[in-house]
Point group: C2
Chain length 308, copies 2
């Protein structure tokens, strides 16, 4: 079975949307990535850190999903990273109300022994130095290193971010971030500039407007499934990354054709994530539901024009 190494935050989120609000619930990039990837036949491990306040039931959730948490450090007396945010009415933008780094401030990642030679590495959104440290601990170059990041690191640690971007194969980034990183409004031009920074594959996430996959002169597009209601967008991008990386690890095929399928699987899983608060929908998600919705994705996008 393929091995997927996941790095990213494990956190408490408090979320307010037009539809309601939550107290501190389970969140974090690595959490959403791990839950999504666990829908595939993979061995995975999470490298992250939490505080002593992190509930055992959440740890049990990871292990019940075959996720190795031996390198999920639990800091004695420490407090888990906490993010509180409020979404605007259109759910396309949000205000961050609280960011308490807590144990994340001094996090020194350690790759577990069994994962120094993984097939795929998924570097979730986190300080680029932590992402780089994980790459440095690997015994040999994995088949694929995928990196997710955000505008915060472009604003505050651009040099470090560019250093790690040089080392990776696939970057996943949203449209505004791609524009910020490259100074190009056209996403086609932005992708080309990012190629020059190192990655051979660029995934540009456009939220409700879908995702684009670029590689050399090729481009593939997956729409977001049109939903009656988006309830809470938190974790959708990470869930996409988890589905994308989990599928590629499972199928052990990093051809562009198979990467298209990975984008569809990522989009499919993300369409569930947004239906409830936090991880709620992902925890209860069944293979049957996933398959049913893949059929919807096919009906949504496939057409039959005879071409000469």
């Amino acid at each position: 079975m393929g091995k997927l190494l996941i790095v990213g935050t494990v956190a408490f989120d408090a979320i307010e949307t037009p539809f309601g609000k939550t107290d501190k619930i389970l969140g974090g990039a690595a959490t959403f990535i791990g839950l999504a990837a666990s829908q595939f036949d993979v061995d995975s491990a999470i490298v992250s850190v939490v505080g002593e306040d992190f509930p055992k039931e959440y740890l049990d959730l990871f292990t019940s999903r075959n996720i190795d948490i031996s390198s999920l450090e639990i800091v004695e007396g420490g407090k888990t990273f906490y993010w509180k945010g409020k979404y605007h009415n259109d759910l396309n933008s949000r205000d961050t109300l609280v960011t308490d780094l807590n144990v994340l401030a001094n996090f020194d990642p350690v790759v577990p022994k069994g994962y120094k030679n993984p097939d795929v590495v998924m570097l979730g959104n986190l300080h680029p130095n932590i992402q780089l440290s994980v790459i440095d601990q690997l015994e040999k170059r994995p088949k694929l290193i995928i990196l997710d990041t955000m505008n915060f690191w472009m604003d505050h640690t651009l040099d470090e971010l560019l250093t790690v971007i040089k080392e990776i194969d696939v970057i996943t980034i949203n449209d505004e971030e791609a524009r910020q990183l490259t100074g190009e409004y056209s996403l086609v031009k932005a992708a080309q500039k990012i190629f020059e920074m190192g990655p051979k594959y660029v995934v540009i996430k456009k939220g409700e407007h879908g995702a684009l996959l670029f590689h050399e002169d090729e481009v593939f597009f997956a729409p977001a499934l049109p939903l009656k209601e988006v309830f809470d967008p938190t974790g959708a991008g990470d869930t996409f990354a988890g589905g994308f990386s989990g599928y590629l690890t499972d199928t052990n095929d990093i051809s562009f054709e198979n990467m298209k399928n990975a984008v569809i699987h990522g989009s499919n899983l993300a369409s569930f994530c947004v239906e409830r608060f936090g991880t709620e929908r992902m925890v209860g998600l069944k293979r049957k539901d996933i398959m049913k919705r893949l059929h919807q994705f096919k009906a949504l996008t496939q057409f039959d024009i005879e071409l000469q």
Copy 2:
């Protein structure tokens, strides 16, 4: 050969984009619809009005494309409808600088004799009373009546607009207009509300984010082709409508499956339209270029996941 009746403005446009500006050039909804539809094997006629200032070379352009202009009224001493607009830097929004209705103010449309029994009617963006008058002049119900409209008519003539919407089969409308018309942010919910107003098919155009086709519980999505540069968006929506209606008239098949193909053909033609100012790209467009880009659309959207 199928007959397509087109109603809409024939106009002078003066356009400013971040890339340059034009003097008065050929524009108008019926112009773009007619040029796009003429890429298919259809007989078409334009019902519209221009002034004495309208150049003969533009009239010749229409007839060279097998477009019947016997009901393109030329008002003696009158001036052609004139629109001047300036696009913002992202090309997603624009300011209207001048709207001179001129001969359009007193336009009384007359359907040509040979087109009182068309296969498909494409009602381009125009006062809803003119759209309704055209429907009233038909001898029997055509296979399909398609209507395009915009927020201006929702703001100023909502009752008249709702009256004509009741009479049609397909509405094409952009995302913000769909939200304005229904009060629903979710496009899925908006489409359902529009079904209740009359149309059985709803096409929601999202510009660079593609187009959605809704019918009963089914939905289909076509992306816009990712372009290095969008030069001038003027006429893209009308070109989409021309490709959509032209293809359906040509194939004489209004099944949902074939309507998917029509959405792809419309999106494909629109991707050319935005590459140059006004009608410039559409006038020189060759079948070979169209076919080549259809292959790109297929590569962009088609995937091969085995489903159980």
